[in-house]
């Protein structure tokens, strides 16, 4: 038995992908934990931007809301949603982390409805800032549980853009050049997107997980990267910081 859980692994992998001195648009929960962990390890000057207006806080604890006072506690600036989103649209925000009820092979996300829009079987919150971040930040990362209910062949509603219908579709739709999904980090594997086909491909498998197992939990055909590696487990110092400093009450990692 490993001495860490799936969420801890996901957060550590996500944190490592964030470069020092880069900018990140995030929400609460696991993405925020990943950002805090990155800041406390290799990326002390990672600029975290919250869509409600908080910029680069010294987070004393995990925010409960994207707009609560923690999101600008000792921040460099407390500003407006438009100021943050304009920075994204201008090309100043490198990464974002999103989630969703459904994701497809092109990294498109649904967080709006299951069933018909006018009278849905399930109503979710909607885009919030997700569509904006997915449209305007350079690289979109997704953190989610891996199961067939989420990884679907066809979304009930395309809330936030991945590669849409495939190669060239983002550009044809008018979205900013060279943007799009980058990584999908789940409890089973890390996936990226094939350079030409823009389809989701498995890039690394978590300890003890096989490609077949990932495919079995996915509602569409997954590609395999040219080289599929083993996901690196959490390092001792990552786990220590994550548990002692980032999320001592185990709000996110406790599940």
């Amino acid at each position: 038995m490993p001495d860490y859980n799936a969420m801890e692994l996901m957060i550590c992998i996500a944190a490592r992908l964030l470069e020092d001195g880069s900018t990140l648009g995030v929400g609460t929960g696991a993405p925020c934990a990943a950002a805090m962990l990155a800041q406390k390890t290799h990326a002390p000057s990672l600029f975290v931007a919250f869509e409600a207006g908080g910029l680069a806080p010294l987070l004393p604890s995990m925010p409960i809301s994207v707009g609560d006072s923690r999101t600008f506690y000792k921040g460099l600036m407390a500003t407006s949603m438009c100021d943050i989103m304009e920075a994204c649209q201008r090309g100043m925000v490198d990464y974002t982390f999103l989630g969703g009820a459904q994701i497809d092979m092109y990294g498109n996300l649904n967080s709006t409805v299951i069933g018909p829009h006018g009278k849905p079987a399930v109503r979710f919150p909607g885009s919030g800032g997700a569509n904006d971040f997915a449209s305007l930040c350079w690289r979109t990362m997704v953190l989610t549980q891996h199961d067939k209910r989420r990884f679907v062949a066809k979304l009930d509603f395309l809330t936030s853009p991945g590669f849409l219908t495939g190669p060239g579709a983002r550009e044809a739709a008018g979205l900013p050049k060279d943007t799009g999904p980058y990584k999908v980090i789940t409890d089973l594997a890390v996936m990226g997107f094939h350079a030409e086909s823009k389809r989701m491909q498995v890039e690394s498998l978590h300890p003890g997980v096989t490609f077949e197992q990932v495919q079995a939990n996915t509602g569409f055909e997954l590609l395999k990267a040219a080289r599929v590696t083993d996901s690196e487990p959490p390092r001792p110092n990552e786990l220590r910081i994550l548990r002692d400093e980032v999320d001592p009450y185990r709000y996110v990692i406790g599940r």
Binding site: M81, M85, A121, S160
Partner: protein, 333 residues
């Protein structure tokens, strides 16, 4: 010329800047005392059928007192801008119960959820019933609807929503840039009939200061036809004039000033008090059962005369001291 998509969603309000200008021409600008009770402000300024918008960010710096009073005065057939609405949306949805319909139309960018706290069972019930007309937006797009209205133009162009069902279910329209030939989405102006914004301090005329993130409120204050300010405290006009670069909302936008200490409770007010997570959980819990929810609303809203009474029911001064300690990262009493 590329093919252009127009959203199929309903436009609940008129984006015509000349119609808005005709209204704003008549809006009083004089420096007069606008202090009144929340009860009077809601009675005077919010009417059945109005389109409303709430300041702050769902459960942070919100005008809870106004939201409760709208329930108490049993307004009906309202429109609402669901711009990261969380607890505010939850309260509005409480008016859609037992065949009554407080909420009839919503521009949705974020509704029914309370972020990390989970989804509101009753708000989902209302939104899954089909009884509320919905138009979808992203948060930035909806913020830009206010931005266009503030600017007095019928639309502003943005680059998000493109290629998605969010655009198709919005009322945005794709256009082609005359300079670059690029596709953009034209986002129509939204002039709410009434907005309510909670601030840290303002003078009796309504010149306001917000000490923290402003979310969309600098714009919302300016584009709303009528505006109710609730404030933690009223300060003198002299104090406002001593540092005019701290004023975030000027008085000529404001129709009512209501002094409501702890007015964002159970939400967070930056630098003042943190959110009451236990009470917010209680809301989410009781909503699961309609009888329990009815009893809860009766106890906390319909049977109390005002917001102060609600605060007393929720723990009064002792509770507020705890939330202040939590906000300021002090050891709790």
């Amino acid at each position: 010329m590329p093919e252009l998509t127009s959203g199929l969603g309903p436009l609940f309000t008129d984006p015509d800047p000349d119609a808005a200008r005709a209204f704003f021409r008549e809006k009083p600008r004089a420096l007069i005392n606008k202090v009144m009770s929340v009860k009077d402000a809601v009675a005077k300024l919010i009417h059945d059928g109005d389109y409303l918008a709430s300041g702050g960010f769902g459960v942070n710096r919100i005008s809870t007192a106004v939201l409760h009073e709208i329930l108490r005065q049993r307004r009906r057939n309202l429109g609402f801008a669901g711009h990261t609405t969380t607890h505010d949306f939850e309260i509005m949805c409480a008016g859609n119960l037992d065949g009554e319909k407080l909420l009839a139309r919503v521009d949705a960018s974020y509704i029914v959820g309370l972020e990390a706290r989970g989804l509101s069972p009753h708000a989902r019930r209302v939104m899954q019933s089909g009884e509320v007309d919905v138009c979808e937006w992203s948060n930035y797009a909806l913020a830009c609807r206010f931005r266009a209205a503030v600017t007095g133009v019928p639309f502003v162009p943005i680059r998000s929503m493109l290629g998605t069902d969010t655009l198709k279910r919005s009322a945005g329209k794709e256009i082609v840039c005359p300079f670059t030939g690029k596709k953009l989405v034209a986002i129509p102006a939204l002039y709410p009939d009434v907005s309510f914004i909670h601030v840290h301090e303002c003078d009796a005329y309504g010149n306001c200061r917000i000490k923290g993130i402003t979310v969309a409120d600098v714009d919302l204050a300016r584009c709303s036809k009528r505006l109710i300010i609730t404030t933690e405290r009223i300060v003198s006009n002299e104090e406002i004039r001593n540092t005019p670069y701290w004023t975030t909302i000027p008085s000529f936008c404001v129709d009512a000033v209501c002094e409501v200490p702890y007015g964002s409770y159970p939400g967070n007010m930056p630098g003042e008090y943190f959110s009451d997570e236990a009470h917010l959980r209680e809301w989410l819990e009781v909503e699961k059962d309609l009888d329990a929810f009815r009893a809860f609303l009766k106890k906390y809203i319909y049977d109390v005369p005002d917001f102060d009474s609600y605060l007393r029911l929720c723990g009064g001064v002792e509770k507020m001291k705890q939330l202040r300690a939590k906000e300021l990262l002090l050891p709790s009493a």
